[in-house]
């Protein structure tokens, strides 16, 4: 459980940093008056959706941190047999990185009001992401074909479960991306397009980060790290 504790601790630090600027030690009964005298205590200028996405990503992060906690606890038991890393995961990872880069590019060009480049980048990001998902499905088929069935070993089960869950989040992101592309194509208000692109890019980078962590874990690079965590726990 140390991974989720670390994650929650990180969130607590962020929350603490924010709260520290909210004058929690003020004596509110002495502070009659309008807002202007208490700068920084109002809602931030960020759009609500962006804050909402941030909170949502914290939830998603907690979900994956919990899976990884479970993973690290379960792998310490004796029947664990790690699976070989399917080679296809490398191009898949490349695809996801490309997708993330494309969306970052889209964000930059949206900020510059370059509508054409934005559209191209958005579509490219979507295509790469779809490629990643198809690649992941192929990995599943390969593993299944070589006898690494879901129920055969907890390592297999975790692999399918975690990659599946990550894929589902990606799929949800694609739906949002599709709507953003529509919006960009219709040429709606640039502010709205810019915000949507910004949110997509943010989500994509986060899923990429999660994937890189998962990947390093599933390929065994992080085994040593997990081993340390497990020893701390037991």
């Amino acid at each position: 459980m140390s991974i989720i504790i670390l994650f929650v601790g990180l969130l607590a630090l962020i929350a603490g940093w924010w709260l520290a600027r909210q004058r929690l030690a003020a004596k509110p009964w002495l502070e009659e008056g309008a807002l202007g005298e208490f700068p920084g205590t109002e809602a931030t200028a960020l759009p609500a959706v962006k804050v909402g996405l941030g909170v949502f990503l914290a939830v998603v992060g907690a979900l994956f941190a919990l899976f990884l906690s479970a993973y690290s606890m379960r792998m310490g038991l004796e029947d664990w047999r790690s699976i070989p890393t399917p080679g296809l995961l490398w191009p898949n990872t490349g695809m996801l990185i490309m997708s993330s880069i494309a969306l970052q590019w889209a964000k930059v060009s949206a900020d510059r009001d370059d509508a054409d480049v934005t559209k191209v980048c958005l579509v490219a990001g979507g295509v790469f992401a779809a490629g990643f998902l198809i690649g992941q499905l192929l990995v599943w088929r390969q593993l299944n074909a070589s006898g690494y069935f879901l129920a055969a070993n907890p390592a297999n089960a975790f692999f399918y479960l975690i990659t599946g869950l990550h894929g589902l989040h990606m799929l949800g992101g694609l739906v949002a991306l599709e709507r953003t592309i529509e919006k960009a194509w219709r040429g709606g208000a640039t502010d709205q397009v810019r915000l949507s692109v910004d949110l997509c890019a943010m989500y994509w980078h986060f899923l990429l980060l999660i994937w890189l962590i998962l990947f390093s874990l599933l390929t065994g690079w992080a085994d040593q790290f997990v081993e340390i965590c497990r020893q701390l726990l037991t």
Partner: protein
């Protein structure tokens, strides 16, 4: 902090914010069924939760009948009994208390109390309710599924939960339970994002964090905790579903099931318990913190006095919220986990008692030198303090690892958690309903019926659960369909069990009076006016009552003061609403 009183500020003219951004419904269906108005969603959530609560209440009657009069009701066999306790527990904890406090009170009160027009994501908010309803339907469907609902106990511990020795373990019961929980969690996440982000981004001008009523603080903190804790239950549910349906071995060890070797291997039942309680312990505070917040406001309003030590109250909420994530394994002292964990978790658990105790002191000190109006909400608030104090103190028995050893899995535990997270929060819910019903409907609830409801509920609930601790002290185990024929359990204990059952039936029955009151007062209650309790918080200052969609008409309120300006020296009335402009410079900021 410098304690220099800030001078009165110039009046800021209220902003003319037209509520164009909201989607205003045009048909009956979009207004009352698929509504995006947080207040309608709140009522939908509350009504559904109360309906589930009624089912869970009947289930508790059935199991009490079996415990009080074993064997008399032949249809309550062991299978049925375990199904009843499981469904009662899960329904009450998740589908009633969590849904009511966050989905019900959260939705109604957050936008109104912070001066927003609505939640920030109304569409997701609407989806949240419909997913909740779907989750409830899936859960209730398990009563009609082959094999009936699951009887694994509300903790759903594997391997037992998914094996054939448990009702519903190899049938549909456990599957429907897990699926329902997953739907609930997805739905809750949509709602929870709303509650959190509305507090962060939707506050009216002038509503600094330290001016927020404690109700908002409690619900806000609980929502943040729920967003982080529910994923643990989600992960546990997904993995158990895989174990049950796809034959994986996340939690399933090598085992012999009914004399047959299974093909499972190596799984860890303790892993599930860690996940479950990583959710389960914060869950206690997810229910308790909104209750803390609401009860603070009830006491303050009806004692006409500011909440004593507001800052300490806020800090305590935050401290409890943070600490509650590192105490979960105190539910697992005798689970067979590494016993050395006991030192750490006993310490953190007892530390959390300190901020909790501060809250109790401050509630009581709010009464001191107050002007106490013994209204029905106030009575419920006082009863809450008694039952919460009692339940909290018995928590010190169970949190202290070595004292927990003889008491764990006995009726002492049942008595403790019912007192602290059953009776106490439900008393707050009742008090809150009596308090805010006039805002929701424009009419007061009937006072006489309210007092009848209060007296039977408070004294009855105490008479049920206080003696129950002593059954546990004898050693009477919990989750026993039948406790007859034990030499160490004296006959008098069985008499006590019968007494508890009779009281439980009475207390349950009096809830019908409450339901009647809710419906009857809709038409026949006394007209309430906009602010019947003469309260300071923003929800009582709406231009019309009940508030329409958008809450505030053309101008959102501007906040000039904290939520607790009661009986301020120099002020004419004994309350100053939060949007009341600063009064004369001489008295503004009159320090104690």
């Amino acid at each position: 902090m410098v304690d220099v009183p800030l001078g009165p500020a110039g009046l800021v003219p209220p902003a003319e914010v037209e509520d164009v951004e909201l989607y205003h419904p045009h048909s009956w269906v979009t207004k009352y069924v698929f509504s995006q108005d947080a207040k309608v969603i709140a009522i939908q959530y509350s009504a559904t939760a109360l309906a589930v609560g009624l089912i869970a209440l009947v289930l508790s009657w059935l199991m009490r009948l079996q415990l009080g009069f074993p064997g008399v009701f032949s249809f309550i066999d062991a299978n049925a009994y375990y199904q009843f306790i499981t469904m009662h527990g899960m329904m009450m904890v998740v589908y009633v208390l969590t849904a009511l406090f966050l989905g019900g009170f959260g939705n109604y009160l957050i936008p109104l109390m912070v001066g927003a027009r609505d939640m920030v994501f109304p569409y997701a908010n609407m989806l949240s309710f419909w997913l909740y309803l779907l989750a409830v339907l899936v859960l209730v469907a398990s009563f009609f599924a082959p094999g009936g609902p699951t009887g694994a106990g509300w903790t759903l511990y594997p391997p037992q939960a998914i094996t054939s020795g448990t009702p519903g373990g190899q049938d549909w019961g456990i599957i429907l339970m897990l699926v329902s929980l997953m739907i609930f969690i997805i739905g809750f996440t949509m709602g929870g994002l709303n509650y959190v982000v509305t507090v962060l981004q939707g506050r009216a001008r002038g509503m600094t964090l330290m001016r927020m009523p404690l109700t908002v603080w409690g619900i806000f903190t609980a929502s943040v905790m729920a967003l982080l804790a529910f994923p643990a239950l989600f992960v546990g549910a997904v993995m158990m579903l895989f174990d049950r349906v796809l034959g994986t071995s996340f939690f399933m060890p090598a085992m012999v099931e009914m004399g047959q070797q299974t093909d499972r291997n190596g799984g860890s039942p303790l892993l599930f318990q860690h996940l479950f309680w990583f959710f389960g312990h914060p869950e206690v505070y997810i229910v308790a913190l909104p209750a803390f917040g609401i009860v603070s406001d009830l006491i303050s309003t009806h004692a006409r006095r500011n909440v004593f030590g507001y800052r300490m109250m806020v800090w305590a909420i935050l401290a409890i919220g943070g600490l509650s994530f590192i105490v979960w394994a105190h539910h697992m002292y005798v689970s067979g986990m590494n016993p050395y964990f006991g030192f750490f978790f006993a310490t953190t658990t007892l530390i959390i008692a300190v901020p909790t105790a501060i809250k109790v002191y401050n509630w009581v000190l709010t009464l001191w030198r107050g002007d106490i109006h013994l209204t029905v909400p106030m009575l419920f608030a006082l009863a809450f303090i008694v039952t919460f104090l009692n339940g909290g103190l018995t928590g010190l028995f169970l949190g202290n690892v070595v004292v927990d050893v003889p008491l764990s899995d006995t009726m002492f535990v049942v008595a403790h958690f019912h007192m602290v997270m059953g009776v106490a929060p439900i008393l707050v819910i009742f008090g809150a309903i009596y308090h805010w019903y006039p805002k929701v409907t424009g009419r007061m609830l009937n006072d006489t019926l309210g007092k009848l409801h209060f007296w039977v509920t408070f004294l009855g609930a105490y008479a049920i659960f206080f003696p129950m601790h002593y059954l546990g002290l004898i050693g009477m185990p919990r989750r026993y369909h039948d406790v007859a024929d034990f030499a160490f359990i004296p006959a008098s204990a069985h008499t006590l069990n019968a007494f508890i059952t009779v009281v439980a039936l009475i207390v349950g029955a009096v809830q019908l009076v409450f339901l009647f009151n809710l419906i009857w007062s809709l038409r026949h209650g006394r007209e309430a006016g906009g602010n019947p309790w003469r309260a300071t918080t923003l929800e009582w200052q709406t231009p019309t009552t009940p508030p329409p969609h958008g809450n505030w008409g053309n101008e959102t309120p501007v906040v000039y003061r904290w939520a607790y300006d009661y009986s301020v020296p120099g002020a004419k009335e004994d309350f100053l609403p939060q949007n009341h402009p600063p009064i004369a410079p001489a008295t503004a900021g009159a320090a104690p």
